[in-house]
């Protein structure tokens, strides 16, 4: 049986076949010339770079097939640099392949394992060392050292404390208060119900009080999307319906999944779509999630109008806007 399983014998390294350049001096000379030409092409590339860098204007555009309207300066220095590098490489490889020795060489490997004596000696040295230090015999030292070393790592972590403030209730608050006027973004103009036609969408922010400045953090939690439908199209409960005004409904624009701006509104289906992960919200049903990874509807902002007919917030958001977090209670 064992004889039958014997594998085929190794015929050994095949005989070396000489290349043309190895035996024919003319071929060798030709190869030499080819390498020299390649290196020269590299030099031409670098010259193209230098010329383009100094003599083509930065705003010079040319029309090329495939590439279209292209900045000539960028193209000139880029192609010049590319050629300058590429042809050095090709030349060197061609040189190696045609003119440098191509006879395969055999080197021997050695097992990585040390000699048993060496390994035993090493293990013994390590053991003896530990023994000499007396770690095994003096557990008190060992335990206090481990404890101290673990503690010594703490300052490194603790010092990161001042990288930021504690979150507190920050994630649950926005700048929307009862009576805050809705203003357009961009433009900061108050907005009336009549400004929005049925089917229209607008992005709004809370109005700034005099002297106030709006930061990106504010926009990141305050951005609200207004959508106007025909009131009959809503399928809302009494309370949510009372949060709308003449068919205008307001949702937080910050996705309840991962915080992207929910910017795509599809008029025919009345769906809001987040371009990041395609969570889809049904506007007629208080932004209920109908598709995608979001687990919660977009928070709805209760709106009404003030005496001048401008849209205002009836009350703050009743829940935190944006993505979920551990402390979030609903």
């Amino acid at each position: 049986m064992s004889k039958e399983l014997e594998p085929l014998a190794d015929p050994g390294l095949p005989e070396h076949i000489h290349r043309k350049a190895d035996i024919d001096p003319i071929a060798a000379k030709r190869a030499e010339r080819q390498v020299a030409i390649l290196f020269s092409l590299s030099a031409v590339g670098t010259l193209l770079f230098i010329y383009s860098f100094f003599f083509i204007k930065v705003d010079q555009f040319i029309f090329l097939p495939i590439l279209g309207n292209t900045n000539a300066h960028q193209l000139g220095i880029g192609l010049g640099m590319a050629a300058g590098l590429f042809f050095i490489g090709i030349g060197a490889v061609h040189w190696a392949k045609t003119l440098m020795p191509d006879q395969e060489v055999i080197a021997q490997r050695h097992e990585f394992k040390s000699e048993p004596e060496d390994r035993d000696a090493f293990v013994k040295a390590a053991k003896d060392g530990a023994e000499a230090a007396g770690l095994g015999r003096r557990p008190l030292i060992k335990r206090t050292l481990i404890g101290a070393a673990a503690l010594a790592g703490l300052p490194g972590v603790l010092m990161l404390r001042d990288t930021g403030p504690l979150p507190g209730k920050e994630l649950e608050k926005t700048n929307w208060k009862s009576g805050t006027r809705l203003v357009t973004d961009p433009g900061d103009r108050p907005i009336k119900a009549s400004d929005l036609e049925v089917g229209a969408v607008a992005q709004v922010l809370p109005e700034l009080l005099p002297g106030q400045k709006r930061t990106l953090e504010d926009i990141g939690k305050d951005a609200v999307l207004l959508i106007r439908l025909r009131p009959a199209e809503f399928q809302l409960d009494e309370e949510r319906l009372s949060w709308t005004h003449e068919g205008i409904i307001a949702f937080s624009k910050i996705c309840s999944h991962m915080g992207c701006a929910v910017a795509l509104y599809e008029q025919t289906t009345k769906h809001l779509l987040c371009p990041c992960h395609q969570s889809t919200f049904d506007v007629t049903r208080a932004a209920k999630v109908i598709f995608g990874p979001a687990a919660r509807p977009l928070p709805q902002l209760a709106i009404t109008v003030d005496g001048e007919g401008n849209l205002i917030a009836k009350q703050p958001f009743t829940e935190a806007v944006g993505p979920s977090f551990w402390e979030r209670s609903s």
Partner: protein, 530 residues
Amino acid sequence: MSARERVAGTVANYVDERTGAAAWMKKNLQKVFPDHWSFMLGEIALYSFVILLLSGTFLTFWFDPSMRTVVYEGSYQPLKEVEMSAAYASTLHISFDVRGGLLMRQIHHWAALIFMAAIVVHLLRVFFTGAFRKPREFNWILGIGLLTLGIVEGFLGYSLPDDLLSGTGLRIAQAIIQALPVVGTYLSFFAFGGAFPGEAFIPRIYTVHILLLPGIFLALITVHLMLVWYQKHTQYPGPGRTEKNVVGYPLMPVYMAKAGGFFFIVFGVTAFLGAVASINPIWLYGPYTPGQISAGSQPDWYMGWLDGLVRMAPPIETHAFGHTISWNILIPGLIIPGILFTGMALYPFIESWITGDKKEHHLLDRPRNVPNRTALGVMALTFTLIALINGGNDIIATHFSLTINQIMWFSRIGIIVLPPLAFVITKRICLSLQRADRELVLHGKETGRLVMLPHGEFIEIHEELTPEKRYTLTQHEQPKAIELVTEDAGGVLNPKGIRAKLQARFSAANAENIAKPTAAEVKELEGGHH
């Protein structure tokens, strides 16, 4: 002796007297490296890293990693007078007002994409050929570390310009941090210096991107290469190549020229891409603001599979005891990638446990000869590929007139059904290829020449393989299944009962192979006419 030789001798002598390096140099200049195109994949990654260091340093001369608001006054007209962060404004400045700035930005970005692609393809080569086996397990783990760091480094890099697209990416990263149970909100506030986006994050990741991570990269790459050097490169099997030798060309001069030349080729190709292929045109995206977004937002490709997993996650959150756990973020964003990467890092040890193989391996496997490993690799690839496809679901939907819902449901079902299917199919293909190899060794190549024998029978002439080729196709060892020992001779139950059973089962599956032709079989055929 020519003057040049004298100078070389003097220099060598000068250095050697001070370092004693001559003996080491003598040995290592003649170090032998085996030759194969697939060994260049890791080289591409290495060279891209060098290109990244060079082009990145250039960019730091003008990039201002600050989120303070400035009004743009540069030469790009559409954004004139627009308020934006200094980071974004300085990226515009590099792109439009620094000669060669745009070229370097594009080279840097292309090099990053090539770097990651080369790492992944190199990893696949190492996996499918079994190059990770003893004694190279450490290097495999280092490689997984480099891959992981590469993903992080790339993400941080394209986040720096603070444009609308990258800001959206940061928002998603922040949501993942925020979703961590118990500590998430705190970690997010510490990382961003308060509420998102704040003004702290870009300066912070800048330090990480240009100092901390490149430093770690440099250290890990150095160790990675030193191990390759010290352990000597693996080689593909063939006549004259054994576990005990390494057959190839000497470092000096062949590899100096080939590898050195190859660096210039990689740099040249990257520069060409930077010259003609626009990438990350941040001026088209506009500055970041949390209230806006552009449709078709896509991360760079090496993040795409993660994004695809997040997109296909079912909408599940747990609300209990006043707390929220977002499974729809944690599972695709952390748990699945965690399992994948841990599994990948541990794979050499898992395989060695299954096969019971503790020997050193320097000859590479042909993937077909290890059907289980190959099938497992294709299975993991299928998983990642479906995730990646789903990461581009919006783009696919618009290009192929499909709905997002169709693609999403295909992915949701496909990611569960297709990987096991890929496993089974791959394994069958491997076994078929083994059968084809066996056929080839025993009966030779079909020549297409038909011959009519005197008695009227038609036969096709088969051309016998050369002994070299035959050896290459049969040199591999075929694993045997580990026998299950449930109880020893005395009737005592094996204490490792379940583990032993598992091991026996896996190793039986692993040992499923088509028996390779033996010397006796070949001889028998040679004796008889065929």
